[in-house]
Symmetry: C2
Subunit: 335 residues, 2 copies
């Protein structure tokens, strides 16, 4: 059977070939209903973006691109992930477009629109909390998408995450095992998937020990080092303050370290390892993720999709390591 | 006067317009002599890459790109710099292509070739030690280049660096001021410009105090945490071992911290601050660079060049801060 052409899709959808071209390239200026009709025709006919055009482009440009969209490239966790993606892409002769979203859906849309307009072969994204319907059009045109760190709501694509909930549960259980019952949770925005999972793990561990949640000990929405430091200061003023802390990412851990020892030391387990964490007094006990493995796994999935793998979307969960060094074993004041 | 066209350049150089197009786009496959002839014609006629073609491309693609080429994106210093460049580019509607070189000239050429083939409007590069003659062709075609962190040998372009030599001298003078005369230098590859500058600063400070250099105390070529750790172990076995260390980048500082306290503590001043450096025992005294300012300054220079600034190349030197926290004030064994 002859491969369907752009003209075939145009005929089936009742639009011009130029409109089809616009839709599959992810360009703006096509009415949503029209785009949907084109998308249906693309799927029905099994159309793939013109390989001649693509190889011509590759010949002209010497190389292809993939896009990488992270929360914040300045965060060492995402920087390590980015380097890992870049190494995989370089090995395969691709170059990487990179962008940060700050977890802002608007910036995410802008960055991804810029990337798809440049006809990236694929996208690796750390999705924001926003909807991702806008990705359906470039995906219908053949752009491959893989999510890493978090799934994207309503998007059935390959996704690589870690065992956030179980790992957080283990961390809090470690604190409970050292006699703590007043354990504070300090987290980032609750609507970020990883944060919701880690908070659920915190609640799991408390529930397994028959300890009811005390909302006074739970702080969400900590977006920066100073906000985390200030949240700890407030927790310290409670009539029945915490004796231990679970911090749900590296920035928050850095922030609470500022107020940890005064007036009295508190036990601490953090999610994410920190450089020099093992050299603190006491050394830091953490849940350690491997951003290089996350990035490498996501890149491998993406390149197998680009190579033509059309099997059902996969969800890959990588295991974290729980690194016990001492900071979670501080005794309670009365213990 | 009419603006010169690609055809005018082709006529002046005695080649086809297609060859001119190849040269100004930085594509491979043009003989060096031919490319040089085209470059001369471009400069003589004051030809600029076809604005119609460019605006057509911008209309098609919705956005322009700049390329960022760093040593290692996984190094927090370069990650912060990259985020800063990305923010400036995003603000101006550009997207960023990013690549790491590992300080390998071959990989640098590959990455930059991939970027120029994709018609980036400009490049911000942390140049490797390799030659950069290969950049002259895309530059003749209108691609703007700015160097950051280090100058590129033989390339007269805007360059943003810090006061490496003076800052290293001040750091070593601090150790001398605390009575140390056996001060070891632990550095990365000597052929990297920043490293040579910092080593020169080390020698300046010793000379100003009338202390001759002892080659046994100088270790170059430390490329990793383990290599730095092992180099310190060797220094410790000297008949007259060092009582203080100057480490010339963050990775080397991390490496020597492993062996710093045993069998006896040594004084230490490092180039580059580290997260949590202020929480070590003793807290780390460092030369602190501002990678956000480096990246932001480089991006501003690049975008002013893209906007048409053709003034003479600038060399911008940003000042570092010397952050005294304690680790440089350890007394000598006999002191």
């Amino acid at each position: 059977m002859k491969r369907p052409t752009m003209k075939d899709v145009a005929r089936a959808a009742g639009v011009s070939p130029m409109t089809v071209s616009r839709v599959v390239s992810g360009e703006a200026g096509v009415a949503p209903e029209t785009a949907a009709r084109v998308g249906q025709a693309v799927r029905k006919l099994g159309y793939q973006r013109n390989d001649n055009a693509r190889s011509l482009r590759q010949k002209n440009l010497g190389t292809s691109t993939i896009g990488l969209v992270v929360d914040d490239l300045a965060n060492p966790f995402y920087a390590l992930m980015a380097r890992s993606v870049e190494d995989e892409a370089h090995r395969r002769g691709h170059v990487v477009l990179v962008g940060s979203t700050n977890d802002e859906p608007q910036r995410e849309r802008e960055v991804i629109a810029a990337f798809t307009a440049r006809q990236v072969d694929g996208l690796i994204i750390v999705p924001t909390i926003g909807g991702h319907g806008f990705l359906k059009r470039p995906m219908a045109g053949g752009t491959q998408v893989v999510c890493v760190d978090r799934p994207a709501r309503g998007l059935a694509v390959d996704t690589v995450t870690v065992d956030n909930r179980a790992a957080a549960g283990r961390a809090v259980t470690h604190l409970l095992g050292h006699g703590h019952t007043r354990i504070a949770y300090l987290g980032d925005r609750f609507d970020i998937w990883t944060q919701a999972e880690r908070y659920a793990g915190y609640l799991d561990a408390l529930a397994a020990h028959g300890i009811p949640e005390d909302p006074a000990l739970v702080r969400h929405e900590l977006r920066s080092h100073p906000q985390a430091r200030d949240a700890l200061a407030v927790l310290r003023t409670l009539p029945d303050p915490p004796t231990a802390l679970f911090t749900s990412n590296d920035l928050i851990t850095l922030g609470v370290l500022d107020g940890l020892d005064h007036p009295a030391p508190l036990a601490l387990v953090g999610f994410d390892d920190l450089p020099l964490g093992e050299r603190l007094t006491p050394p830091l006990t953490v849940v350690s993720q491997d951003p290089v493995a996350l990035g490498g796994t996501a890149a491998n999935l993406l390149f197998s999709r680009i190579a033509g793998d059309r099997s059902a979307p996969r969800s890959v969960v990588l295991l974290t390591r729980f690194v016990v060094r001492g900071s979670g074993a501080m005794r309670t004041a009365g213990g």
